[in-house]
């Protein structure tokens, strides 16, 4: 149980980190943009956008995976578009696993970022403008750092959620060792086996260690920023 990781297990761990890392990195800007729109703009129908963003939380993951399959599967329009414009294939590829994770993590990230964006003291933005900073620089040097705890929390939540993502991933891109078999999929396979308990426990232990590692890393970032160094 406490034996060092086998080569296969290392492969799974690295793939999980890659999928989650890419998912969070890709989603963060989108999540920030959506949080910004929700926090700062007023327009009719805003609550509908808000509800759409929450959908991956509310729908069972397999349905999200199924919808992704409809959109990106062999006949899906989005899949063909991605393929034609960027040459990116997602079906049965790790990129698809990252896409599924990203979709599932999005609502968590948007909420966390939005919470802090709404708490930012707008008068400080006025002060920055008055000191000569344009809107973008004001954003980068005042708004973003003040919302940093929310961005960080969003990234941590999103990363954790991605590490645990199972239902949408397996429904969308199936369980392909070395390509889409992330840690949860490996755990699920083990759980299906009579007598697979020991393996499940071992793999779950690895997941626990990963999440602990991610949290320690985020705490270090927070401490750095609390000391007055900037996170951004």
């Amino acid at each position: 149980m406490f034996a060092p990781l086998t080569a296969d297990e290392w492969g799974i761990v690295l793939l999980s980190l890659q999928v989650s890392g890419v998912a969070v990195a890709l989603t963060l800007p989108a999540a920030f943009g959506l949080a910004w729109v929700l926090a700062r703009w007023r327009f009719p129908g805003k609550v509908v956008i808000d509800a759409l963003i929450h959908l991956p939380l509310v729908l069972p993951p397999v349905v999200t995976g199924w919808l992704l399959l409809l959109a990106f599967g062999g006949n899906g329009p989005a899949g063909r578009w991605l393929e034609d414009s960027f040459g990116v294939t997602v079906m049965f590829r790790w990129t698809g696993a990252a896409l599924a994770s990203a979709v599932m993590a999005l609502p968590l990230m948007v909420r966390a970022i939005r919470l802090l964006l709404e708490a930012v003291d707008r008068r400080l933005e006025g002060a920055a403008r008055s000191l000569g900073a344009g809107p973008w620089r004001t954003f980068a040097s005042v708004t973003l750092p003040l919302a940093a705890p929310g961005v960080l929390a969003g990234a941590v939540l999103g990363f954790a959620r991605s590490l645990g993502e199972f239902g949408a991933t397996i429904t969308f891109v199936s369980n392909i060792p070395g390509e889409t078999q992330t840690l949860p999929l490996a755990i699920y396979s083990a759980l299906q086996l009579p007598g697979g308990d020991a393996l499940v426990t071992r793999l779950a232990g690895i997941a626990v260690l990963l999440s602990l590692g991610a949290l320690v890393a985020s705490e270090l970032l927070v401490r750095r920023s609390a000391k007055g160094g900037h996170v951004f």
């Binding site: 397999v62 599967g73 899906g76 049965f92 429904t171 199936s174 699920y188 396979s189 009579p194 007598g195």
Partner: protein, 234 residues
Amino acid sequence: PAPKPPTVLAAASLQESLTGVAEAWVRKGHPRPVIAFAASSALARQIEAGAPADLFFSADEDWMSYLEQRRLLRPGSRVSLLTNDIVLIAPAGSNVRLSAARGFPLAQALGPNGRLALADPDSVPAGKYAREALTSLGVWPQVHGKMARAENVRAALAFVARGAAPLGIVFATDARASTAVRVVSTFPAASHAPVSNPLAAPARATNPEGEAFRRFLLSGEAKAIFRRFGFGTR
């Protein structure tokens, strides 16, 4: 007082047929059984954890044996009731022609990037049978790296139905259920152990209605209904 309805834990792949049988049972004036459909593995673990169930209808023998070894089944209640075929399927619009026989060109039919959709061959019943059949036909090594393993057999079916995979392997009953796929070939019965869906009563079951429903499931009337949904019966 009205008899308490029995609680039945059944593999998700039995949903349609078992619901049909339960309807017939209700028409005879019995209380409607409460049936929970989920993965056999989850149901078996629930029985192991002491869930109050009166019948367990599994998708494969392995989980049933797991419970039997732990003395969690009522002795003598285990019956292998249903049989099934495994089939090779393709999207309805595909014109691929193949016959599942020794060394048939499965990998070639998949093309360079196509994947073979099937339930996880390591753990899910439909996948385990598929692996056994492909191995005995000598084509397993060709497709080993070209599989899309699904969480359950219906998800494998969906990959083919959505055109995400050009070929897949599912139970005959699943293939019948979808108009978006067609059966390309049925695997020879000799290429794999007989597919069977066993039924048993957990040792803790006490509801007499459960035993009554179990006996009904073994009756010719129930078997006829199962056959209508494509199962074989024993």
